[in-house]
């Protein structure tokens, strides 16, 4: 009840101010009259009584002020007054306001932009039903890391587990020729179990997703399109449902398409089709080629599900010792799976941009301090007429919060722009689980940050103002000449030292990342990348049903390419450098196979000119001969025949040959000549080593070189053929090559399309986009920080000079040399720099440890980087002090002496 009364009473005071004031006046005057009357009754004269009563009462205005502040509306009024006063002040100093608002806007805007990404990727839940219960399943092996599942293992997991409501299997992205609607293109297709969409809990935009049972041969020729594919090929028409498209020569009926936000397969999937879940179609137990997701039952934890799957895996290991040795299971929450690797990057960026904002705050705080000294008179007057220290401080704080909110308003505009750019960007080094937008959370963050900034920035001048000595300021006479270590000077100096320290830390971080990036670029991939083009192609199994057809195609293609003008060498391979991932375990006759359990050997099926095309040098032995190639084809035929007839027999030794890389030679035959040795790889072989070539980074630029074996292409041409890569080295650059390759392919088979046509240099630089993004962003932030710091130092030095003009004049008049004045000021600047750099190095030593995972080829405490960056910053800082120092040295003593 009293709340209501409080509210209405307060509102009445606000809206009927006149009336309430009059009533107050009336009551107080009545009080005075009653007091006078009482005093007169006790014997005073009217004059005496009046005087006494007035003295007792004190100032009427003060009393009224007290009454006003007794209610909640009083605080509101005060706030409103403060705001209006603050606005007037800001308007009166447009220069200061503009600089401060701009500085804050930059800092707050950058933070808003980065936070929107953090929000979209790390904070918001995945856009699926009950996303916390979704997990991804992996197999584990003896060596660390997670591995794709094998089909039969998955089926057993599915059947035997109790902890999950459901699981769904799906493939990696497969390339299919898509035609029959609009332009034919290479589409990235993901084959899934029928319950894939329903497990995730997503609905199609129009039409439907898969029905139960559609993941069985005969019913699986349906397709769900992605939004992008639907737009590109059906123009976004709703009537697309029911139409058919052609995938690798087979007809699929379109049953629905997904909304724009739904992404899988790294956001690039074009369509989803069901996979045939029959055991025989899923491949042998030893082939690890699938992924799977699962949904936990209510109340089941990830740990529990993982423990159960591990138990099931152990059971399978006993049942199938050959294929399932050391095969375990891992369950990872889906969110972690998708965004976990970006967490460090994003948090680093957010911290960096936060530090930049701190520096911006320090600058504005310094500016405010400078301006505050000019307002001492004003504050003294206000204190004199009765404002309390708290009141003055509150008003100053309100002013700086107002400033900060203004900065935030502009900062939001900047942030909006940035968010728009980020959201529209095609490729970002972050997973696109949620769209990046300026939503409520981001807005709240921005407002919260700007309030904090406002308080931070306002603290310094507010603190100072509350200590203003009334007497001194009200007189116009001598201004105290405070040396650099005066009380006010310390706060400013501390801010500058802080700025220097933070800038240094940021610059060192950026420097480390930059050097990582440079080192990455210098990494020896092992090939000569200039002038080499690669393109990928898929042979649809419907059309290319036999080994001979595949061989014929590629033989003709290579013959045609070799004859084309400008082509130095052409070849085909199943893997490209930096894009490996096809590997198996090696078995060497007569050696304990368990010794090689953790060592994977990369397999690459190639044509003989592969090495010349990539510029991979031969170190020993020889390349494949035509006889080798013939033998290889013969071996494949025997293999196929054997598996068809059910008789498994080892191939005769000497039929198959392989070329190995140096790492493989060193690893398996360390003190021997590897030529002539034999080995088996997975189910393939036995191979005889005929040549050794230089190492190539097959797994990626940051990964070490792994053992690699190259053998004849024919093994990879047994249908169904997976994606193969064409490699062409141009005699004079790569410009003419794409057209040449395309025309050759078209002349052989016009239904085939090439994709991923890139030069090797592009492939290499694309593998470094992550690092290049990070270095770029962090360097920009660090440079911004450096700029702000330099401006801050300059400002403080210039102000100090102005403050000390009188003192300088005296010194000059007493015979000091201008150079001594210069030294005097520079010494101050140098002191600040030294302390700031020392603090910055200490801070960097602590903080860069967190960057360690992002670095490559360089330690987080790399002394070279530290020294170079510190020197750079010191030079900039000293330069920023030098300019005002020079001005000080040029001061005319006559003018200075008169300066007050």
């Amino acid at each position: 009840m009293s709340i209501l009364r409080n509210l209405t009473s307060g509102l009445r005071t606000l809206f009927h101010k006149e009336e309430v004031e009059q009533e107050m006046d009336e009551e107080l005057r009545g009080f005075l009259d009653a007091a006078v009357k009482e005093k007169m009754r006790s014997g005073m004269s009217q004059g005496e009584a009046l005087r006494a009563a007035r003295v007792e009462m004190g100032s009427m205005d003060a009393v009224k002020e007290e009454i006003r502040s007794a209610g909640w509306e009083g605080t509101l009024e005060t706030l409103w007054q403060d705001l209006r006063y603050g606005m007037r002040q800001l308007r009166r100093n447009p220069g200061f306001t503009a600089v401060a608002v701009l500085t804050l806007a930059l800092g707050i805007g950058a933070n808003t932009a980065i936070f929107s990404v953090v929000d979209a990727v790390l904070l918001r839940p995945l856009p699926f039903r009950d996303p916390v219960m979704l997990v991804q399943l992996w197999e584990t092996q003896a060596s660390p890391g997670t591995y794709p599942l094998s089909g039969p293992n998955y089926l057993d997991w599915q059947a035997q587990n109790q902890t999950m409501e459901g699981t769904s299997l799906f493939t990696w992205g497969l390339n299919y020729n898509a035609s029959g609607a609009g332009e034919p293109e290479q589409a990235l297709v993901i084959r899934t179990q029928a319950n894939f969409f329903s497990l995730l809990g997503v609905e199609s935009l129009v039409g439907r997703t898969f029905l139960e049972g559609e993941d069985w041969a005969g019913r699986d020729h349906v397709a769900v399109l992605s939004y992008g594919f639907w737009q590109r090929h059906f123009g976004g028409g709703k009537d697309a449902v029911g139409k058919t498209i052609d995938l690798n020569g087979e007809k699929y009926a379109v049953v629905g398409f997904m909304p724009a936000w739904f992404r899988s397969g790294g956001g690039l999937a074009d369509l989803w089709i069901p996979m045939d879940m029959s055991e025989k179609n899923l491949g042998p137990r030893g082939n690890h080629q699938y992924r799977a997701i699962g949904r936990l039952k209510r109340g089941v934890t990830v740990a529990k599900a993982q423990a159960e799957l591990k138990t099931i895996a152990k059971r399978l290991e006993e049942q199938y010792p050959n294929s399932n040795r050391e095969v375990g299971a891992a369950v990872i929450p889906l969110k972690e799976q998708l965004v976990g690797s970006s967490r460090l990057q994003l948090l680093t960026l957010l911290s960096a941009v936060g530090l930049v904002l701190l520096i911006a705050c320090a600058n504005v705080a310094n500016l405010s301090l400078v301006r505050a000294t000019g307002r001492h008179r004003e504050i003294a007057v206000r204190r004199a007429i009765g404002a309390s220290r708290a009141r003055v401080a509150r008003q100053l704080l309100t002013e700086s919060v107002l400033l900060s909110l203004l900065g935030a308003a502009f900062g939001l505009l900047i942030g909006w722009d940035c968010v728009g750019i980020l959201a529209a960007a095609k490729t970002l080094p972050f997973p696109r689980t949620n769209p990046i937008a300026l939503n409520g959370t981001v807005l709240a963050f921005t407002i919260g940050v700007s309030l904090l900034v406002g308080i931070l920035v306002g603290l310094a001048p507010a603190l100072q103002a509350s200590q203003v000595h009334l007497n001194e300021e009200l007189k116009t006479a001598v201004k105290a000449v405070l040396g650099p270590s005066g009380r006010r000077g310390i706060l400013r100096d501390a801010l500058v030292v802080g700025e220097i320290a933070i800038s240094l830390a940021l610059l060192i971080g950026a420097g480390l990342l930059l050097r990582s990036f440079i080192k990455l670029r210098e990494v020896e991939v092992g090939i000569h990348p200039q002038g080499v083009l690669t393109a990928q192609i898929v042979l649809p199994p419907k059309k290319y049903t036999t080994l001979e057809q595949g061989m014929a195609f590629f033989d003709q293609l290579l013959a045609g390419l070799k004859g084309a003008p400008g082509v130095e060498a052409a070849a085909v391979g199943s893997q490209l450098p930096l894009k490996g991932g096809n590997n198996a375990k090696i078995i060497i006759e007569g050696r304990e196979s368990s010794a090689f359990d953790n060592i994977f050997v990369e397999m690459n099926a190639v044509t003989p000119d592969y090495f010349r095309a990539f510029g991979i040098p031969f170190l020993k032995g020889r390349n494949f001969t035509p006889q080798d190639l013939q033998n290889a084809v013969e071996a494949v035929r025997q293999d196929v025949h054997m598996s068809q007839s059910g008789k498994m027999q080892a191939l005769p030794v000497g039929l198959l040959v392989a070329v190995i890389n140096q790492t493989m030679a060193r690893k398996f035959w360390p003190d021997q000549d590897p030529l002539g040795k034999t080995f088996k790889l997975g189910g393939n072989g036995p191979f005889t080593v005929v040549g050794v070539v230089g190492d190539v980074k097959e797994w990626g630029i940051r990964q070490p070189v792994i053992p690699q074996a190259y053998y004849a292409l024919s093994r990879a041409l047994v249908p169904p053929v997976s994606t193969l890569s064409i490699v062409v080295r141009g005699a004079v650059g790569t410009e003419a090559l794409p057209a040449a390759v395309r025309s050759q392919v078209r002349s052989l088979d016009s239904s085939l399309a090439l994709f991923n046509v890139r030069t090797v240099e592009e492939v290499i630089s694309q593998s470094m986009t992550d690092t290049s993004y990070q270095s770029l962003l962090l360097t920009s932030f660090a440079l911004l920080a450096l700029l702000l710091t330099a401006v801050g130092i300059y400002g403080v030095m210039a102000y100090t000079v102005t403050q000390r003009t009188h003192e300088i004049g005296i010194r000059l008049a007493l015979g000091a040399h201008p150079r001594q004045i210069l030294r005097l000021i520079m010494r101050h600047g140098a002191q600040l720099t030294v302390v700031g750099v020392a603090l910055g190095i200490a801070g960097a030593l602590v903080l860069t440890r967190f960057l360690a995972n992002l670095l490559f080829g360089i330690q987080s405490r790399d002394p070279f980087t530290f020294v170079v960056v510190a020197t750079l910053l010191a030079v900039v800082a000293l330069l920023a002090s030098y300019i005002p120092a020079r001005r000080a040295a040029k001061v005319d003593p006559m003018v200075a002496l008169r300066y007050e």
Binding site: S9, E27, G30, A34, G58, V63, E66, G71
Partner: protein, 111 residues
């Protein structure tokens, strides 16, 4: 003259005002005078503390203001204790008594 309310804590002043009004409705100066007289001059409340207290008590619903005409065609604001106020006064009196007893006991122990 006693400083602004530093000798009389806000809560105590509120209680004294309520007690004063328990006898009869009064206007501002009357209340101040009564408190001063009955406390034999120990407590002198200045308007700077008194009137804000009135507003507070009014907002809490413990006293009710009312303009009454005086002589010279003027009017004065009289405050009356409400039912709520009476209850509050009773509660505070009890609490005050309890505190006083406790303090007295402690003070008498320390010899």
């Amino acid at each position: 003259m006693p400083d602004k309310g530093s000798e009389l804590v806000q809560g105590t002043l509120d209680m004294l005002i309520l007690r004063t009004l328990a006898l009869e409705p009064m206007h501002g100066y009357g209340i101040a005078l009564r408190i001063e007289q009955i406390s034999r001059g120990v407590f002198r409340v200045n308007p700077g503390s008194l009137f804000p207290a009135f507003r507070r008590l009014e907002r809490k619903g413990w006293i009710k203001p009312e303009w009454r005409p005086t002589e010279n065609n003027r009017r004065a604001k009289y405050y009356t204790l409400t039912e709520h106020g009476r209850k509050q006064l009773k509660a505070e009196t009890e609490e005050w008594g309890r505190q006083i007893t406790a303090i007295t006991r402690i003070m008498e122990i320390i010899d």
